[in-house]
């Protein structure tokens, strides 16, 4: 059992809670203002781009306020209350008051999240102002109302000072997600996707709600400030450190398990990940902001925020690690076989979220959160590039029908942006994605836990797959001969017919082989179609995000002794208390958070404990991970180049693709036959869920309905019928003979008396 000296500092230092200045309320209230103004715009039927400018201005203001807050309050923990929301007391003792203010909790974890949420939201609003312009006067205002409401909800989620505020934000972002996925509401597929997202999220929300209630019963408070300070929680943590994990009550350990279910729902982890790929039905800016960069990282935030509660549970974090890793692998395999580039990005989001979960669960909260940040930039960039392609090619997203965009006029910014995003996602050395991913994987080999090193290898393998599918998209769509086929959205997006190309409805035989004559705009049918490259707003946003995605790597080198800037940010928060779980001994102990810096001390100290500091192939994971993961990543890219690369890539050695629809992969896919097809069909998980849950529930509902009609109501009707029946039976009694009446009256009174006596005795 090892107790780090940093524990005491971490436990005490983080909890001096002050009160924040009132202007911090601008961060949530400006997006709310945008909601109100946009609603007014809707009421007055504004048919210009005004809602976009309102939203951009308010969100930018919110971002500036966040920057000021960052400068003024960094390193402190403070609370500011807007108004009192819930307050009910039934006694004066501890826990006899149910309080939840509409208040905001500002610490570095919050600020970190808010910086990239408001920053990205502003940029993406700028992008959307151009992207959504087809819908000016139609759904434009509706889009920006929901967009601004989303940012408001996100601020409540991240900044809320109690768990009910978190829950408010949690469901609020779910609502906005629902409204925005269903933005093209005439398309049945979009409606179904929106509904699915909300309902699957609700399952997670139920877990979260139970976790919140359990927290209240156990700690008598919902407010972070009190919760993290409570003697009880400190007592449990102490018990865990001293190896008395068994002393923590079972129900207190369950808190983390239920919170985890909530996190899995919102962050699309197995088994609740199925909604996220479908969520791509929404407009692309929404996919970029909500379903890639911000909302889906809420689960990671939840675990980081509640890390002390997770640490007192013996199973919560290992389960999170396993689920995260499994999700990463599963989603990557599905992503490899998709043809819709937006769906590939969606699956890669699920996969990368798996990395983040594995990161926080393997006690590298810094790695997990750093990956959240880098991923936010490069994945938003990737989505926005896909959106630009979709926008320019009338909704075309099939990578078999697009080729050579790099060489087309006006598409260079998109192409470069895509390349930068892909390099990050693939984890090419010296990109931001490389550093953040390495941090997570290295920790898998360091932290002892049930099979964590196996998880580490899985994550490495998945990194290779990620590199492959990422560059598959890049090589197919952006390199090679210029060939394209437009999608079916000739007149904007808000049309009645959905784009039904590609989503798995190609039979196997022709997959990857659309007839080459149909490709190429010069051939036939598409004479009128000219792809329109993005204009200033979109290009500006893509360029900015490209720069930011590159610069995010620099964060790793700021304060290296603390694992980079993110590490220094988390130091003063609850996410900092990093322990190592020695589950084989059914106990937990704290390791030095600064494992890199204080590496030697740490290694020495852990010699007494078996396998405390793992290794990878006999090397120190922290030192060799850079090389190992680079090998996996580059191999993946090489494979993508070989199978999908254009002819002439590296003197013809790697690529040989000469047209959009054909490449070396076709033969490989054929050789492995049903597997790529199964992967393309998402391993039939949706069908399985439908068969296991939806259908039975539907049947049960019908059975209930039948029972209600026939049995429950039937019984009532029977009772209603009884008097008539009795009347018919008793008709002879109505004989008109007075004696008979008297007799029956006496009998009735007797019965009543009898009952009364019986009851009162």
């Amino acid at each position: 059992m090892l107790i780090s000296p940093t524990l005491a500092a971490a436990a005490d230092g983080a909890h001096a809670v002050g009160s924040a200045p009132g202007w911090v309320l601008l961060i949530p209230m400006l997006p709310m203002l945008a909601v109100v103004l946009n609603t007014l715009a809707a009421v007055f039927r504004v048919r210009t781009k005004l809602p976009a400018w309102t939203t951009i201005a308010c969100l930018a203001g919110s971002f500036v306020a966040t920057l000021f807050a960052f400068m003024a309050l960094s390193g402190q923990t403070s609370v500011v209350t807007a108004w009192s929301w819930f307050d009910l007391s039934w006694g004066t003792g501890q826990g006899q008051r149910f309080v939840a203010d509409f208040g905001f909790y500002i610490d570095n974890l919050t600020l970190l999240w808010m910086l990239f949420v408001t920053g990205l939201a502003t940029l993406i609003a700028v992008y959307a102002s151009e992207y959504m312009e087809h819908d000016v006067g139609k759904g434009y205002t509706r889009f920006f109302v929901a967009f601004a409401l989303f940012v408001f909800s996100m601020t409540c989620l991240v900044m809320g000072d109690n768990m009910l505020m978190l829950y408010l934000g949690w469901e609020g972002v779910g609502l906005c997600s629902y409204l925005l996925i269903g933005y093209f509401y005439k398309k049945p597929s979009a409606v179904a996707a929106a509904k699915k997202a909300f309902i699957v999220n609700r399952i997670g929300d139920l877990g979260l709600a139970i976790g919140v209630m359990l927290t209240f019963v156990h700690f008598g408070t919902l407010e972070y400030a009190q919760l993290f300070q409570s003697e009880q929680l400190q007592g449990y943590i102490a018990a865990v450190q001293e190896g008395r994990a068994g002393d923590v009550p079972l129900m207190a350990q369950l808190i983390a398990v239920f919170l985890m279910i909530g996190a899995f729902g919102k962050s699309a982890q197995f088994p609740l990940y199925v909604w996220l790929p479908d969520a791509m039905e929404g407009p692309t800016p929404v996919s970029a902001l909500i379903h890639a960069a911000t909302m889906v990282t809420a689960g990671v935030y939840l675990i980081a925020r509640m890390l002390p509660v997770f640490l007192v549970s013996e199973w919560a974090l290992p389960v999170v690690a396993w689920v995260g890793t499994f999700t990463a692998l599963l989603a990557a395999t599905i992503g490899m076989a998709q043809f819709d580039i937006k769906r590939i990005m969606a699956y890669s989001t699920v996969s990368q979220l798996g990395y983040m979960f594995a990161g926080v669960a393997m006690l590298s909260s810094v790695g997990g959160v750093y990956h959240v940040v880098t991923h936010a930039f490069f994945k938003a960039l990737l989505f926005l590039c896909c959106g630009a392609v979709m926008h320019g090619f009338a909704g075309q997203l099939d990578l078999r029908k697009l080729s050579g965009l790099w060489h087309m006029k006006g598409w260079r910014v998109v192409s470069v942006g895509m390349l930068i995003g892909c390099l990050n996602l693939a984890g090419v050395p010296f990109t931001a994605g490389f550093f953040s991913k390495d941090m997570i994987i290295a920790e898998a080999f360091v932290t002892p836990g049930y099979g964590f090193s196996f998880l580490g290898w899985t994550l490495l393998f998945t990194a290779g797959l990620t590199a492959y599918y990422t560059f598959r998209v890049f090589f197919r769509v952006f390199t090679g001969p210029v060939q394209y086929e437009p999608g079916d959205e000739h007149h904007g997006h808000d049309n009645d017919h959905g784009h039904d190309h590609g989503h798995g409805d190609h039979a196997h035989d022709d997959h990857g082989h659309p007839s080459s004559e149909s490709l190429g705009h010069q051939d036939h049918g598409h004479d009128h179609f000219h792809p329109h490259p993005p204009r200033f707003a979109i290009n500006f946003v893509l360029a900015t995000l490209s720069v930011l995605a590159i610069l995010a790597a620099g964060l790793y080198f700021v304060t290296p002794e603390k694992h980079g800037w993110v590490g220094s940010m988390l130091e003063s928060t609850t996410a900092h208390n990093v322990y190592t779980a020695d589950h084989s001994a059914a106990a937990m102990f704290l390791i030095d958070e600064d494992a890199h810096a204080a590496h030697d001390t740490h290694a020495d100290a852990s010699h007494g404990d078996h396998a405390a500091h793992g290794s990878i192939l006999g090397f120190d994971p922290h030192k060799v991970m850079y090389y190992i993961s680079a090998i996996f990543g580059l191999t993946g890219i090489g494979l993508a180049a070989y199978l999908h690369g254009p002819k002439g890539l590296v003197s013809g050695f790697l690529g040989n693709r000469v047209e959009a629809g054909r490449c070396r992969m076709d033969a490989v896919a054929k050789a492995f036959d049903p597997i790529p097809r199964w992967a393309e069909n998402k391993w039939y998980v949706d069908e399985l869920y439908h068969f296991l849950f939806v259908r039975p529930l539907w049947v049960v509902a019908h059975v209930f309905h039948a029972i209600d009609k026939l049995f429950v109501d039937g019984l009532v009707n029977l009772f209603g019928y009884l008097p008539r029946l009795l009347g018919r039976g008793a008709q002879p009694g109505q004989s008109g003979v007075l004696n008979g009446y008297a007799l029956s009256m006496a009998g009735g009174v007797g019965v009543i008396l009898f009952i009364v006596v019986l009851v009162t005795l």
Binding site: W83, S84, F86, D87, L88, W90, G93, G95, Q96, F98, F102, L164, Y167, L168, E171, G172, L175, Y178, L179, Y185, K186, P188, V191, K195, F198, I199, R202, D205, L206, A209, I210, M213, L214, F216, V217, H218, F219, G220, T221, Q232, G246, D247, V248, P249, L250, M251, A252, D496, W698, A701, H702, F704, H705, D708, V712, D713, V716, G720, V759, T760
Partner: protein, 554 residues
């Protein structure tokens, strides 16, 4: 005096309607209900909210002194808030019916106003006989509204509604009579004063209380309605005219939960404790069962009607949690459900007026045709789903919270300080919580059909000759107060919460005072008491069950 006015004004207006020309009926009714609103505001302003648990604005007129009968009126904060809800819904129902009711207008509006009087009477009665008279009398106007102004199957629906609820209430009357009789036997004088009878009832033995509880529940459970005595509701709702449905969902169902709050909890605390698990199980069955039934409806009005059964399950659950959070949550639920479900019925009525169908098979995708209507629809659906920031969430989460806290915990500071004494617990709350998921399933299913998707209108649909395609100003005006209510209630429920804190705490105290602290009653479910080993859930559950049996034996 204000209370008396609140009862009398609608009656006077009903009289005016009868003696005035047909064309003026709706304006008189609107005027009368708006005047009631004014006096409602006067009542709210005149009430001393710091003493919410004390009956105020008392009116007492001697009626039959020999029997101890009084026309006693008075309100505590809970009653007053429910009166406020009733009065708020008054003009909304009247104005919302302007175009829907074209025949027999005098009858319709007169009975609507009489109904309002009766409902106000129920909430402010402080004499048991008066309460019962008003309680039963609400059936008559509602019967007329359904039977005369309902849809095709209205005769059957109205008869069933009347007989079903009447039969239940008669049993409740027997329970009341029993308590009154006990009171007379003990004190030597008849009285029907609610407070006095409550005291008597609490002095009864556990078994006697159990009889009282069962008798009262027979009346109130039908009204709520609690599974399995709910089948009158979908029928009555579907057949009733829009205003009838709004009143039915908004207020009449609350007479049942109000009855439980006002009589069952304080009259039979010991029995409440013993029967709480049973009642909670029925409530939870209602939540899930009715919720799933909603999902397979094609008639949206029937869907929303069944959703009331599901929603009021939460309300009952909160009441039988018998702790501050749960019971407050229930009281808030009564108000909140009145706003959002009332609004949903209005929305459906507005659609029905235009399309003359409520079938999701015939109408869908109204989002493109009626954007304003659709916006309101989505808003109220979200309120009904229990989205945080809107009213449904506040009350629903409190009911669940209360249920969760309500035992079997140790309830000790340092182990489970947030727990309270009670017979439910996390298992009940978790299963009831699935109702939140089910609610999302059926309500979004409905929204997905009716609001989203490609537009579909019934064959041969013509535009209404009076109503515009989308909502008229009048209709928006009817919906806006409800929408504002939902939003304010959701974001700033504190005034309501504080207003009912004192009376709820008083009511809860009757049950909580039974907590003797002996381990027979209070369950242990944490490891701290079990030297080193975990007391697992199954163990806790076994203890719990064992206790239920012993509890009944007291």
């Amino acid at each position: 005096m204000v209370l008396l006015l609140l009862i009398v004004i609608p009656l006077i207006c009903a009289g005016l309607i009868v003696f005035n020309p047909r064309e003026q009926a709706k304006y008189i009714a609107a005027g009368g209900s708006l005047v009631s609103v004014v006096f409602g505001v006067v009542a709210l302003a005149g009430f001393d909210w710091s003493r919410g648990n004390v009956d105020q604005m008392l009116v007492s007129i001697e009626w039959a002194p020999a029997l101890g009968l009084n026309l006693a009126l008075g309100v505590d904060s809970v009653s007053l808030l429910l009166i406020a809800l009733t009065i708020l819904l008054g003009p909304i129902c009247v104005i919302g019916s302007f175009t829907a009711i074209t025949e027999n207008q005098k009858t319709f509006y007169a009975w609507l106003l009489i109904l309002q009087s009766a409902m106000v009477g129920v909430f402010c009665a402080r004499d048991l006989v008066l309460f019962y008279i008003c309680f039963e009398f609400t059936l008559v106007p509602m019967y007329v509204l359904i039977a005369m102004f309902g849809s095709s199957n209205r005769r059957r629906a109205s008869t069933k509604f009347f007989l079903y609820t009447f039969t239940g209430s008669v049993v409740a009357l027997a329970g009341f009579a029993y308590v009154a009789w006990q009171h007379a036997a003990q004190t030597g004088a008849w009285s029907f004063d609610m407070a006095a009878l409550g005291e008597t009832a609490r002095g009864l033995t556990a078994i006697q209380q159990a009889w009282v509880l069962l008798a009262l529940m027979a009346g109130f459970a039908v009204k709520v309605p609690l599974f399995p005595v709910h089948t009158w509701l979908p029928l009555a709702h579907t057949e009733a005219p829009t205003a009838g449905s709004v009143i039915l969902a908004g207020v009449l169902l609350k007479l049942g939960t109000y009855g439980v709050y006002k009589f069952v909890l304080p009259f039979a605390p010991e029995a409440v404790l013993n029967y709480a698990p049973l009642m909670a199980v029925l409530a939870i069955i209602g939540i899930v069962y009715a919720g799933l039934i909603c999902w397979v409806q094609t008639d949206i009005k029937k869907l929303v009607a069944y959703s009331s059964v599901s929603h009021l399950g939460f309300c009952m659950l909160g009441l039988f949690a018998v702790n501050a959070v749960g019971v407050s949550g229930s009281v808030l639920y009564m108000i909140s459900h009145g706003l959002s479900t009332g609004a949903l019925f209005l929305m459906i009525g507005m659609m029905y007026e235009r399309y003359h169908t409520r079938s999701m098979k015939e109408v869908s995708g109204l989002g493109s045709k009626m954007p304003v209507w659709s916006t309101f629809m989505v808003f109220f659906v979200m309120a009904s789903v229990g989205l945080p920031g809107l009213n449904g969430f506040v009350s629903e989460i409190m009911c669940l919270f209360g249920t969760f806290q309500s035992g079997p915990w140790t309830g000790e500071a340092g182990i489970t300080p947030g727990a309270t004494f009670g017979m439910l617990g996390p298992v009940f709350a978790a299963i009831a919580g699935t109702g939140m998921v089910v609610a999302a399933i059926y309500l979004l299913y409905m929204t997905g059909k009716i609001v989203w998707g490609p537009l579909r209108e019934p064959d041969g649909h013509h535009h209404h000759d009076v109503l515009p395609t989308d909502l008229s100003v009048r209709e928006i005006g009817v919906l806006l107060p409800l929408a504002a209510g939902c939003l304010i209630f959701g974001l700033y429920p504190l005034p309501l919460m504080k207003a009912i804190e004192a009376p709820v705490n008083d009511t809860v105290a009757y049950v909580q005072s039974l907590n003797t602290g002996e381990t027979g009653r209070v369950m242990v479910w944490t490891a701290a008491h079990d030297e080193g080993t975990h007391t697992d859930a199954a163990h806790g559950e076994a203890d719990h069950n064992a206790d239920e049996h012993s509890g009944e034996g007291h």
